[in-house]
Amino acid sequence: MIAAPSRAPGPGTFARGIHPPERKGFAAEVPIEIMPNPVQVAIPLLQHTGAPCEPLVKVKDEVTLGQKIGEGKGFITAPVHASVAGAVGMPSVTTLPNGRHVKTIPIKTGPNQLSADELKASLLGGDWPVSGLDAQSPEQIAQTAREAGLVGLGGAAFPTHVKLTRNEKRPVDTLLLNGCECEPYLTSDYRLMIEFPRPIVTGALLAARATGATQLVIAVEDNKPAAVESLRRAAEGTGVEVRVMETRYPMGGERQVIPAALDREVPTGGLPLDVGVVVMNVGTSAALAAAVLRGKTLTHRVVSVTGAGIAQPKNVLAPIGSSYKDLIDFCGGLKPDAARVIAGGPMMGFALNDLNITVTKGTSGITVLTHDDLKAVEETACVRCGRCVDVCPLNLVPTRLALASRYQDWDMARRYHLMACCECGCCAYVCPAAIPLVQLMRMGKAQLPKE
C-alpha cells in the first residue's frame, strides 16, 4: 500500500567521496545475454552473510532446476538451490573470492534444460502486475523470500527475508531501492534497470508490502539517465518515486545513499532499520518478484564481465555455481595484456589468482584490468597532507587509522573510530604516497582486541 509520492527530502548527494573514472562504456550498451549451461556447476553451501547450509541431497541424486539442495539453521541464513537440472556429484571444498573455504555441491548438467529464451522469459520477461499484490500477506512474502534463497545481490549478500520480516519495535516507513551501482566498470544493475524495469518495480511493491513501508524510493545515479527513464515509465501510477542521485563514489553504500536520498543518518554500528528504512538492491527486487509471483528460486543472476582485459565485455545472466572461467570464456577469454581479474568492481573487489572459482549470489561483476590500468606506484612516507580526510565519506582520519593498525596502537585506533570504516577505498585511491590504507585498516579491524 503505497501513499501518493511524497518528495523524498534528501539532498541527492553526500559529503566528501570521490569521482573515479566511470568506465562503464565497456558493457553499458550490451544487452543481457544468457550463458549456455556449463558442463558442471558447483553450488557453495555458504553464499550469504550468516549460517552455512547443510546439504539436502546425496551423491548421484537427480535434481531439477531450482530445487532446494541446501538448508541452513537459524534466522540469518538462506537456502541454496540447484541452478541446473542434473546429477549431484561428490561434495568438495572451494575458496570464495574473499578467501573463505566453503563446502560445495557439484551438479553435472543433465540433458533436459530450459532453452536460453525460456529461461529469460520465465525469470524476468513477460508481464508483471503492479496492482492486486495485496493478495500476498506480508508474512507470506518474507517466507517466500527465505524459501527462494534470496540474499542481497548488491554484493554483501545479506539474507533478504531478514530485512523483510517486520519488527514491532522498529517500524519501517520507507523502502529504498538501490540502483546506484557506484563501482566503476559494473553495469549489471544498469542493464537490468533498462531491460527489465517491470519486475524491479513489482518486487519493490512486494517488499514495501512485506515491510510495511509507505514510501518507496528508487535511487539511481545521474550518470544513468536511460535507467531513470526506464524505471519512471515502469513505475508510472504506482506511487514509486525514482530519485536521481549525484554520481559520486560510494553512493551505493547504505550509509551514503540513505542520507542522500532521504536525509537520514544511519547511526554508526546500527542498521538502516534504526532510521525506519530498508535498503534493497534492484536485482534483489526483481528476484523477489520472480519468487513471489512465479515461484522461482534464486538460481541465476546478472554478472557484468567487463574491463579492457576481456575480449568481449558482456552482461551475462549466469547460473549461480558457474566458474569465473566459464563466464570469461563465454566473453571471449582474457586479452594478452590482462593483468588482474577482480571479483566485483575495482574499488572494493577482490583480486583473483585462480579463475576456477565459483560465481555466487553476491557476484555482481568480473572486472579485468590491463597493465595500463594498473599503475605501479611505490609506497612513500605519509606527508600528512590530509587528502584521505578530505575524501572519507564517513569523516574518518584514514592515515591515523592506518598508522594505528600498522603499529597495533589500539588506543589510537579506538580514539579515531577504526570500526566505523567501511573499506570503500576512497582514501587509498587519492593517497599521494600510495599507502595501502584500506589494507592496513582492514587488518587493524580484524586484530583490534575486544574490550
Partner: protein, 337 residues
C-alpha cells in the same frame, strides 16, 4: 568419481596472461603524488621569484642558489649517514631550501643560508626520520638557528644596506619602520613588493598568486591561510581601533612583512600542520594570533617564523582535540570491541 575436482585442478588452470593479486582498491587516482606536491610548491614560488628578481636583482638568485644547493647536499649527506636511500628525488629538500632562501634578507652572508639549510635538513628533518616525520617546519627551524647564531646577519638592521645601488635595500623594512619610527608604508608598494624585506615576502600580489594556485591544486589546504588571515585581520582591526597609527590599516598589516608568504607557503607545510580541516583552521588562527602578538608586543618587528614554530609544537594537541566525528556518530562501546 570426480573427487575434490575443484581443489586439485586449481593450479593447473592458470590462464595464459599472468594475473596477479593485490588488495583493493585496484584503481589509483594518481593525480597527486608527493613528488608532484613538491613540484607544485616550486611552481607556485615562481611569481614570488619574479617579484624577488624585480626588487632584489641578483641577490635573490644568489640566496636561492646557496640555500637550495646546501639543502640538497645536506639531504644527501645526512641520509647517507643514516644509511637510508637518498631521497633527493622527491624534491622536498629543494622546497625547504627555496622557502628558507625566500625568508632571508637579500644581503645575508652565504654562511647564514648554508648553515640554515644544513640545520633545516639535518636537525629539522632527517633526525626525526626523514620526510613526513618532522615536528617542526624544517625551513623555519633552520632560519631560527641561523638567526640566533648570526644575529647581526639576520636581525632587523641586516636588511638595510645604506649605500646599495638597489633602492629598496636603502630603507628599513616596512614593519621595522612602523615599530621603530612609527612610519607607515603605502599600500601599493606593499602589495606589489617595492619595499625592503626578506626576498620572498615583499610582494603580497605574488604570494596571493602562488598561494591561490596551491589551494586550487589542493597541495596546500585553504583552511590554514584562511585561519591566518582571519586571525590577523580581526586582531589588526582591534589594534587599529585601540591604538591607531596614521596610514596603517588592517590591509597594511596583511600585506606587510611575511604574513602572506607565511600563510600560503610556510604554515601550509603538510607535515608539520594538523590533519583534519577543523584542526588546520585552528592552526592557522593560532599562527595569525601569535604573529600579531609578536608584532605588537615584542621587540621583534615580525613574528611569522616563531609563530609557525610554536604552533608546530601544538599540532599533536590540535590533532587530538579536532578528531572529526564519524558520519553516524562515534562507534558505540559494544561495537568498538
Amino acid at each position: 568419481m570426480d573427487t575434490a575436482t575443484s581443489t586439485t585442478e586449481a593450479p593447473a588452470v592458470m590462464p595464459s596472461p599472468a594475473i596477479h593479486i593485490a588488495p583493493a582498491p585496484h584503481l589509483f587516482g594518481g593525480a597527486l603524488t608527493t613528488q608532484r606536491m613538491m613540484f607544485d610548491v616550486l611552481l607556485a614560488l615562481v611569481p614570488v621569484l619574479v617579484a624577488a628578481l624585480w626588487q632584489f636583482r641578483l641577490y635573490a638568485v644568489i640566496q636561492l642558489a646557496i640555500c637550495m644547493v646546501s639543502a640538497v647536499a645536506a639531504e644527501a649527506l645526512f641520509t647517507a649517514m643514516r644509511k637510508k636511500p637518498i631521497l633527493v628525488r622527491d624534491g622536498s629538500a629543494l622546497v625547504t631550501g627555496a622557502i628558507l632562501a625566500f625568508s632571508l634578507p637579500a644581503k645575508a652572508p652565504w654562511y647564514a643560508g648554508a648553515v640554515g639549510s644544513f640545520v633545516a635538513i639535518g636537525i629539522g628533518k632527517v633526525i626525526f626520520g626523514g620526510v613526513g616525520q618532522n615536528i617542526f617546519n624544517p625551513a623555519m627551524l633552520g632560519r631560527a638557528f641561523a638567526m640566533i647564531a648570526f644575529p647581526a646577519a639576520l636581525g632587523a638592521s641586516a636588511y638595510v644596506v645604506p649605500d646599495s645601488p638597489i633602492d629598496g635595500l636603502t630603507h628599513a623594512t616596512p614593519l621595522t619602520a612602523l615599530k621603530m619610527l612609527g612610519q607607515s608604508t603605502g599600500l601599493l608598494p606593499l602589495f606589489l613588493g617595492a619595499t625592503n624585506g626578506s626576498i620572498g615576502e615583499t610582494s603580497a600580489l605574488a604570494c596571493l598568486l602562488g598561494g591561490a594556485y596551491l589551494c586550487l591544486r589542493r597541495t596546500a589546504s585553504w583552511e590554514i591561510p584562511a585561519g591566518v588571515i582571519a586571525a590577523t585581520a580581526v586582531i589588526g582591526l582591534l589594534v587599529q581601533w585601540f591604538s591607531p597609527v596614521a596610514g596603517w590599516t588592517v590591509l597594511h598589516e596583511l600585506c606587510g612583512g611575511a604574513l602572506l608568504f607565511g600563510a600560503f607557503f610556510i604554515a601550509t607545510d603538510p607535515v608539520s600542520s594538523p590533519l583534519a580541516p577543523r584542526g588546520k583552521f585552528v592552526f592557522g588562527l593560532g599562527v595569525g594570533a601569535l604573529v600579531m602578538l609578536i608584532r605588537k608586543l615584542s621587540g621583534y618587528p615580525e613574528g611569522v617564523m616563531f609563530s609557525v614554530l610554536i604552533m608546530n609544537a601544538l599540532v599533536p594537541l590540535i590533532n587530538r582535540a579536532t578528531i572529526p566525528t564519524p558520519v553516524g556518530g562515534p562507534v558505540p562501546a559494544k561495537k568498538a570491541a
